[in-house]
Symmetry: C2
Subunit: 247 residues, 2 copies
Amino acid sequence: MSRIIVDPFDVVPKYYQLADIIRQKVERGEWSPSQPIPSERQLETLYNVSRTTIRQALAMLIRQGLLYHEQGKGTFVSPQKLQKGILELTSFSEDMRSRGLVPGQVILDLSTVEPPAKVAQHLELKPDVQRVLRIERIRLGDGKPIGLQVSYLALGESQTITREELENRGSLYALIQEKFHIIPSAADETLEVTVAGPREASLLQVAEGSPLLLSERTLWSQARRAIEFVSILYRGDRYRYYIRLTR
Amino acid sequence: MSRIIVDPFDVVPKYYQLADIIRQKVERGEWSPSQPIPSERQLETLYNVSRTTIRQALAMLIRQGLLYHEQGKGTFVSPQKLQKGILELTSFSEDMRSRGLVPGQVILDLSTVEPPAKVAQHLELKPDVQRVLRIERIRLGDGKPIGLQVSYLALGESQTITREELENRGSLYALIQEKFHIIPSAADETLEVTVAGPREASLLQVAEGSPLLLSERTLWSQARRAIEFVSILYRGDRYRYYIRLTR
DNA sequence: CAGTGGTCTAGACCACCGG
DNA sequence: CGGTGGTCTAGACCACTGT
């Protein structure tokens, strides 16, 4: 068995390398749920890093739900059920994949528009100053309609996205991260119940008046600038929203 | 103006005291949104604590959304909009209060029962071994019905809750924390759309077939034991679910 | 360049838990 | 009692930012 160690010359921080090592130990079953992992002082000598660094790695894994502390006893691996589905800012694509469905899309619109008042407000745009990118898509899971998504993006003057790029990548967030180095870091989301109007009914292939789940989300960059306002109308019979809350 | 300092003899950890001080500075407007707060080295001398302790306090406030770092520039106060509504495991009562409504309840049932199969599964109970506490309540906001809540609690043999206790406190989580020292620390929650049957319609005072928002939640203790499985049927016209996501 | 946060070290003392 | 995590110190070097 190959010894896995922390490389002090790697550009990746030690606490991050260490967290990866521990995650692998758990995934391979070397350290089991409800069992204690080695103590922080043991980990110090095992990986030749200071306790502060150890604790930084553990804090990360605890926040992600993989481990938990018990005072005076040790650090333990979480039960299987609690290891997965960590709170994430999931894109629709990631969301579908995590449910075992193949994500897909039909792009209905991709254009630059003047933002509606509600959108301008959520994106905190100055009136009549800025135009935004509007993307409307039918979202598919295993080829069947799941939701109707309308996204408004507040990009810079010279920044834009083409239909081809969006079709090739599928995931909008992957695209803006790669192209513009914008990393989503927080979001406000509301969920409520509504019913299908004629247009939604036809696009989602449900009867008019069918119950739908409406999600509205404002997305923020690391520097706390509003990037996107997106609404998704989910078919009530094909979608269940899932979230992991941690304190 | 009174000088606020960190008391090294307090039982409250310094980083926690410091976080409170900083939170107050922001709330009082001494430090403003989008403005940098003093640098970590300045805070060291200001409050006479080490930089590690400073960073521990800042990390807490950043996780809560009050502050954010910008590399090479400083630490900043988040815009107002991002300061409130921090991700929490809110109880219904806390939830209502944060919306400016007075929480209320009508207790329909409080009894010890054999758990239904679905509940036993979510609470990970051994078959036929354990009885659980069932609480059914109509939940009110400003006196009007908002939701129908059914809660199943997996308590110890000698642990129980009386109607009086529940009526007096209102908040179940406050009660179990105080009485049994059980602190909720994580939850899995799903949200989906459904329609009112005859019983729900009558209790929530809506027409049969009205769209409802169904929340189902499993709550976990610090030691990763399942404590509660709770479902809430919200009136679609009176409730909007809100969540803050952070990475 | 000087100032910022990002990472890391090698210690220390404490409260809590089990035998 | 010895072992655990919880807190805290006083340093250090780094990469990134602005001027």
